[in-house]
Amino acid sequence: MIKAKRAPKKRGMKEGGGIAATLMLAPSVIFLAVCSFYPFMWIFRYICYNYNGFRATYTGVRNFTRMLSDTTFWNSVGTTFEYAALKLVFIIPLALLMAVLLNQKLRGSSFFRGVYFMPTVIATSISGMIFTFIFATGNGILNGLLQNLGLIGKPIGWLTDQKVVMYAVTILSVWAGFGNYMLYFVTGMTSIPEDVYESAKIDGANGVQTFFKITLPMLSPVLKVVLMLAITGAFKDYEAIMVLTNGGPGNRSMVMFLYIYKLIFATQAGTQAQIGYGALLSLVAAVIVGAVTIIYQLVSKKLDDVV
């Protein structure tokens, strides 16, 4: 077996295949090195420095000790988990449900597919801005609607009440993202052979049984990919939150990448751009996201074994 694998490689090298392969690989490798490895090494370079874009001052382990006592950062990590959980709980079932409905080949389903996908192509800053008008307490569209329907007595402080702001943030992120995942699911469903459904129908399966016994199991490879994308995406979200709440009120919606952004770009009064410290926090955040992804993959593998 081993010999059979090695033999073609040797033949290739002798025939000049190695040079050709090197030349063909070179653009990708160079591109990867410049655009991926170099920035990554650059991050490592400054984690022991105070660097404001102008001058780097070596500070030893100071950034590490600061990180350990930085309660704002650790609270933002907790908020990120909360946000990711809330988003995933709503976005995946909703995307799946809409995909199933739109896969029924009913009249107008292509139109609605487009409508639901549209938020994905709207700039995050614009959607964040639009939702500030929707969620405004005194003159907001949502409160006006809920009050007219008699569902609430007094306006809800969607963006100013610490108890509800996370729901507002979640609504925006679900609205902006579910169309994308829905499209993945629709694509996955179209690859399920039609005759499987016909067999189920002949066997007398109803819609619910067909979904749970056929659609969902046969969609599981797509579902796993979508879940992984959704998890990593949710942990990295910050742009819309920045526009909608800027992490407030009282840091209640401060997610970790928003905090890092604020440090690196010195958005606060009287503070320096903290590229070194921000680089360290970015690494820690990357480790957290990586750990969550690995845990998810282990769990999904276990589930595969069980199923």
Partner: protein, 445 residues
């Protein structure tokens, strides 16, 4: 043959010389200027066009407006050798001078009496803002006023008020009364989500003699803010039930949703052009203080200036451009267009104040001044404005917020001094009513 060659060579040389002369005459010295100011673009374009057409030094100004990441873009251009010759004032002076990016204008200024007469550079040199020690890097052509209270006269009158009171307690009482009278239709006061502490309460603290940096001892001290935060809680309880972006809140003020709004002189243009108030009369008043007595200067901001980059290859030409931007003719037009308030007594006497409209209501007060730049530090967590506002909103306790700020700011400051990234600013003869008058010293520890 030899003779023919000589004549040909002579003809070629003559051709070269004659063809070169008009080219040299056409070749202009281009001075590039970057700014992040957009509001005055129309006036700048008009004046630059005039300068380019009329100046006899064959200089051409090319202006570029950079709207995002202004400072970073200048830095990147400087590092890449493509920096402009002149940049607008919105840069961190210390960072730029530490990095050797700027040229001190002191020698040019000293040799130019006309410039001194119009711009009064030595009177308006502010430590850390436009000057470091004896080196002046830019001189402002105008000022933005400190915060004022803009108020809806009709709503005040409904509750029996005609003017803004001098004490914070009376001001709070007035806001409460109007909110109660509004019964949900309108409110006494409104706050924005964008730096809300800065736009009213911080300035009320300043005129009450409370500031976050203790210049005499060279350390941060937030202890004085406690009474302001306590009263701030009362004020917020009477406020419009939402804190939206600045423009949204301006629109709500313009439509009579609340009576009291705080912001600086830019509101003159906003409420006459951008969101013109037509349904009611609006007034402008100084911010109240804790006791009614003025114990500290109200902070103002330098408005527009021009800095020369050290990478500039035609420094004398760049200085001529700066002189043009700071000439009496240019500044007069700039001020009369209402872009900012005059900073010099000379220009104050030269402008036609009937042309500046509602900006006249924001004229500088006797106790208004620029404060020396407080060293920028590597702070973790929220800045003081956010933290103090969080305390007002009740997200954190007032005492805890003050203790947290004193600890975090001074710890970061001490560590930055230790690492050499910043020096301790001490002004032993600091006077809160004349903050720019003291002598600054920078200590290594």
């Amino acid at each position: 043959m030899k003779k023919l060659s000589f004549i040909l060579a002579l003809m070629m040389a003559a051709l070269c010389i004659f063809s070169a002369v008009p080219a040299m005459a056409d070749e202009k010295t281009v001075i590039t200027y970057w700014t992040n100011d957009r509001h005055d673009m129309e006036y700048l374009n008009k004046m630059i066009e005039k300068f380019n057409a009329e100046n006899t030094d064959n200089i051409e100004i090319q202006m570029t407006v950079i709207t995002d990441e202004y400072e970073n873009q200048i830095l990147l251009a400087y590092q890449g050798g493509t920096a402009p010759d002149i940049v607008g004032q919105s840069v961190n002076l210390k960072n730029f001078t530490d990095y050797g990016m700027l040229v001190s204008l002191s020698d040019y200024i000293a040799a130019d009496e006309e410039y001194q007469k119009v711009n009064e550079p030595y009177t308006h040199a502010f430590e850390g803002l436009n000057a470091i020690g004896d080196d002046i890097y830019w001189v402002s052509i105008g000022m933005r006023s400190g915060v004022r209270i803009e108020y809806n006269k009709a709503l005040l009158e409904k509750s029996g008020y005609t003017a803004i009171p001098a004490t914070l307690d009376e001001y709070i009482e007035m806001a409460k009364t109007m909110t109660a009278a509004g019964n949900g239709e309108y409110y006494g006061i409104g706050f924005t989500s964008s730096s809300p502490f800065e736009r009213q309460l911080e300035m009320m603290a300043q005129v009450s003699g409370i500031y976050y940096y203790d210049y005499v001892n060279g350390k941060f001290d937030f202890s004085g803010y406690k009474p302001i935060l306590e009263k701030g809680r009362e004020l917020v309880a009477a406020a419009y039930p939402d804190q939206q972006g600045v423009d949204n809140m301006r629109a709500l003020f313009q439509t009579g949703n609340f009576a009291l709004w705080g912001n600086a002189s830019q509101e003159a243009g906003v409420f006459t052009q951008q969101l013109p108030i037509t349904e009611f009369e609006w007034g402008v008043a100084p911010v109240p203080s804790l006791t009614g007595e003025i114990k500290g200067a109200l902070q103002t901001t330098l408005s527009k200036g021009f800095l020369m980059m050290s990478s500039c290859e035609n420094k004398d030409a760049a200085w001529k451009v700066i002189k043009f931007f700071q000439s009496e003719e240019f500044i007069k037009g700039y001020l009369e267009n209402g872009y900012c308030l005059p900073i010099t007594s000379y220009m104050d006497q030269r402008i036609d104040k009937t042309k500046i409209g509602r900006l006249a209501d924001f004229s500088l007060l006797e106790y208004e001044s620029v404060y020396p730049a407080v060293p920028t530090i590597n702070l973790i967590g929220d800045d003081y404005r956010t933290t103090l506002w969080n305390a007002i909103m009740g997200y954190v306790e007032i005492d805890a917020a003050i203790e947290d700020l004193n600890t975090r700011y001074n710890q970061a400051y001490d560590e930055d001094i230790l690492s050499g990234s910043v020096k301790r600013l001490v002004i032993a003869d600091f006077d809160p009513l004349h903050p720019a008058a003291g002598t600054a010293t920078y200590l290594d520890k």
